[in-house]
Amino acid sequence: MKHLLLTTILGLSLATPVFAEKYGATGEELAADQAYSYYMLDSAKSLDPNLASSVEDADIIRSLIEGLYEEDAAGAIIPAGATSYEVSADLTTYTFHLRPEAKWSNGDPVVAGDYVYGWQRLVDPATASEYAWYMELAQVVNAGEITRGEKPLSDLGVTAIDDLTLEVKILAPLPYFPKMLTHTAMFPINKKAIDQFGGEWTKPGNYIGNGAYTLSEHLVGEKLVMTKSPTYWNAASVIMSPITAVTINDENAAWTRWVAGELDRSTVPTGQFPRLKAEYPDEVSSNPSACSYTYVINLAEGKGNAALQDVRVRKALAYALDRNIVIDNILQAGQIPAYSWTPGAMDGFTIPATDYAAWTQDERNEKARALLAEAGYGPDKPLTFTLNYNTSEGHQKIAVAIQQMWKQTLGVAMTPQNFEWAVHTDKMHAGDYDMARYAWCGDYNEASTFLDLWTSYSGNNDTKYANPAYDALMKDAKTMADPNPNYTKAEEVLAADMPIIPIYHYTQVRVVRKDIKGLPTTNVLNTWYAKNLYRIAQ
C-alpha cells in the first residue's frame, strides 16, 4: 500500500509540470496532456508514399515524411523540405534549394538524391504504383515513358545537382506545378530503408522518415500510433504526441466513442448534423470539401440510353432536379447545391454563373417541361431509363427522392438499381449503364483536377463525352498564367452540353474537442498536419 501511494504521488508530480507551457505564436496556455486521437473510416492501406492510395494513408504519411512543400491552413503552399525555388525563364526548369538541417529518423541528412530516388521509384514499372500517373500529370519529363517501360529510370527529368539542390524539368509551363508537390506521391524516400527491409520497411521499427513523427504501432483495423520524432529539423515546434489514428468503420460507433471521451476528433453520422450541431455548437462543424457528387450520363455511341443522347432531355433532367430537397431533407449537413462541376472552394476558382443556377426551382421545372416536350417525350411517349448506384443507404435515399422529382415534374420513369461497389465501378468503366452515380475528389487544390476529367482524352471520362471546344479550353489552360477564365468557359460548355448532372458539393462534417487548436477549417483538400496541432489548458 505504501508502495502504491508512493508511485501515485510520483506519477502525479511527473504529470503536472511546475510551469505551464505556452503556445509560442499566441501565448495560449498549453494543457499537460498533449495526446491526440482521431477517427478514420478505414485503416491505412500503405504507409509507403509510392504505394499509398487513400486519404487515410496521406494523412498519416504527411506526419512521417516531409516533402518539398506543404500546405498552410488555407491550402496555399509553404516551404517544408525545401526552403525556396527558382524557375527558369521558359517556366520549364525548377531548381529547389533543400533545407540543410533536415534529417531522416536514422540520423542521415536529407539530400536531393532522396527525392530523385523517391520520384524514380514512383514511376518505376516494377513498383507498380497506382499514383505513377501523378508524375505524368505534373508533366515531369519522361514520366509517362518510364511508367510504360519505354525509357530507363535515369531519364526522369529530376536531377540532384548537389546534396542540397534539386533540379526538375517539366515538359511545358504548368502554373500549379509547385502546388502538386504537397502530394505524398512526390515525397522523398530513404533508399537504405528499402534496401534493408524491402517490402517490410513500412513496419514500426523499420520505418525511416524525415517527418515530425515516427511510427510506433500499426494494428490494421484497430489503430496506428505515432510519436514525436527527435530528429525532425523543427522538433522544437512539435507539441502533440502521441498521435493515435483509430479505425472505426461505423459512423455511429465513431460518434459514440467521441461522446465517451475516447477520441479528440470524429465524424457526425449522416442525417444527424442539425441535431448534433444544436447539441454541440462549438465542437460540431461542417467545412467545404473538394469533392462533387453527380449523376453521369452514358454518351458513348451505341451504348446507354438513346433518349439521353438528346441534350434537351439531359437539360430537362438537370433542371427538374431540386438540389435543395436533396440537401435540406436528406443530407442535412450544409452541402452546397451544385449547378456546375467544380466546387467553389477550390483555390482561385469562382463558380461561374450558369443561367439555370439563378432561376427559381419553379422556373427550372417550367423550362424542363418545355424542353422535354420539345424533345418529343410526354404522356404518349414516356421517357424511361435506369440509374445505377453503388449500394449505400445515402445513395439510395437520394436516388429515390430524385426518382420522385422526375416523375412528378416531368412524368419520367427512372428506375434506380443498386450494385455492389466493384460491380458498379466495373459497369461504368465498361459503359454498361444509362445514368450512374459518381463522385470525384480533387488531387490538388486547383480547378483542373476537376475539369480535366471531362476531356475526351481523360481515362476517367466514363460518359465518353467529347467536345473539341472543351478539350481546347483545358489544353490551353495548362500554359496560361491565369487559367481561370478558361475554367469558367469550360463550365459553361458543360452546362450547355450537360453530359453530367451536378448535384452537390461535399462538406466535411466533423466533431473536434474545444481545446484542440491548429486544425485547418478552410483547406478544401482537408490537408492537415499533426505537427501544427496543440491542446490548450482549460
Binding site: K45, L47, G221, N249, T256, A260
Partner: protein, 307 residues
C-alpha cells in the same frame, strides 16, 4: 478409430484443393478486380500491377503457383489492397484477436445455453421454462448489429464502465462487449436445441428406469440424461466454434478489434484475392478439423457409434 482419423485427414487434402480451385474460379467470375478504382487507373499502371502480381498468367497457372507457394514456402501471397502486408501478416495479426474473443464467447454461450436449456427442459411448462425460453428467444431476435450499439450505450455511455471499442492486446475490459455481442445469439440457439433434445431424452426408457430406481433428480439429469441429450448440441457446437473463432464482421467493425472477421469481408468487397483465399483456406481447415473432432467426440459420448 485411428484408421478412421487417418482416412478423414487424407480426404481433407483433396477437399481443400477443390476449395481452392472453386474459390479461385468464383473469385475471378465476380465482376471487378483488385485494381478497380472509382478513379480508373491508367492502362500502363494496370499493366504494371498485373505483371507485378502475376495476373497476366493463365488462371490454371496462377492456381498452381498459388498452391506451390503455400506448400514450398508457406507463403499465402500479398494483399493487393493493403500493400504493405502479406496474407500471413493479416492472419497473424487478426486471427489471435478473433480467436480470443471467439473462444471466450464459445465457452460463455455453450455453458449458458446448455444450462438454460436443461433448466427449461426439466421444469417443462413451468414458469422457469417460460422464462428460459423467453430469454433465449429474446437473445435470438437481437442480432449482434443491434446488440453492439445497445451494449455501448449502456456500458460506455450510461455507466462509463467499459471503453466503447479498441482491443489493446485483448485486455479484459476490451473483450467483454465483443464477447457478449457474439455469444448471445449462439447461446439462444444452443439453449433451444438443448431444451428440445433434453425433453426427448427425459421421456426415454433409460431415464424412466433411472427414476424408477429412485435416483435423485440431479443424478438422473447429470449422469443419465445430459450425455445423450448433448449429441445434437455437439454437432452444432463444432461449426459454431469455427464460426466464433474466425470472428464476426459486425463485432470487428463496431468495436475496432482489428480481427479477421472484418478482414474477410473487406477482402471480398475489395477483390483482394489472396487475402480472400487465405482466410477461406483457414476457415476451411478449421471446419474440417472441428467436424472431425465432433465425430470423434460422438463416439466417446455415444457407445452405440463405432467407426
Amino acid at each position: 478409430m485411428l484408421n478412421y482419423i487417418i482416412k478423414r485427414l487424407a480426404i481433407a487434402v483433396p477437399t481443400l484443393l477443390i476449395l481452392i480451385v472453386l474459390s479461385y474460379i468464383l473469385m475471378y467470375a465476380a465482376p471487378g478486380g483488385p485494381f478497380t478504382r472509382e478513379k480508373a487507373l491508367p492502362p500502363q499502371v494496370i499493366a504494371n500491377l498485373t505483371a507485378r502480381y502475376g495476373f497476366d498468367e493463365p488462371l490454371w497457372k496462377q492456381i498452381l503457383i498459388y498452391v506451390w507457394n503455400i506448400i514450398a514456402h508457406f507463403d499465402f501471397g500479398p494483399s493487393y489492397i493493403y500493400k504493405d502486408r502479406t496474407v500471413n501478416d493479416i492472419i497473424a495479426q487478426g486471427f489471435p484477436v478473433t480467436l480470443r474473443y471467439g473462444m471466450i464467447a464459445f465457452v460463455v454461450s455453450a455453458l449458458s445455453g446448455i444450462g438454460l436449456g436443461v433448466v427449461a427442459a426439466i421444469n417443462h411448462n413451468s414458469r422457469l421454462d417460460y422464462a428460459a425460453v423467453g430469454i433465449s428467444i429474446g437473445a435470438q431476435v437481437l442480432p449482434n448489429f443491434v446488440m453492439a450499439p445497445i451494449l455501448v450505450l449502456v456500458f460506455t455511455l450510461w455507466l462509463g464502465w467499459l471503453p466503447g471499442g479498441g482491443w489493446e492486446g485483448g485486455e479484459w475490459r476490451y473483450v467483454i462487449m465483443p464477447v457478449i455481442a457474439l455469444a448471445t445469439s449462439y447461446m439462444a440457439y444452443i439453449a433451444r436445441i438443448t431444451r428440445g433434445s433434453m425433453l426427448e431424452v427425459m421421456t426415454s426408457n433409460h431415464i424412466r428406469t433411472a427414476r424408477a430406481k429412485g435416483l435423485p433428480m440431479s443424478k438422473v439429469v447429470l449422469r443419465h440424461a445430459l450425455k445423450p441429450a448433448l449429441l445434437p448440441v455437439l454437432s452444432f457446437l463444432g461449426p459454431a466454434f469455427v464460426g466464433m473463432i474466425t470472428g464476426s464482421v459486425v463485432v470487428d467493425m463496431y468495436f475496432s478489434t482489428g480481427g479477421i472477421g472484418k478482414a474477410f469481408v473487406d477482402s471480398a468487397q475489395n477483390r483482394d484475392y489472396a487475402v480472400m483465399m487465405g482466410i477461406t483456406l483457414l476457415v476451411g481447415i478449421l471446419y474440417i478439423a472441428f467436424n472431425l473432432l465432433v465425430d470423434v467426440l460422438y463416439a466417446w459420448i455415444d457407445p452405440k457409434i463405432r467407426y
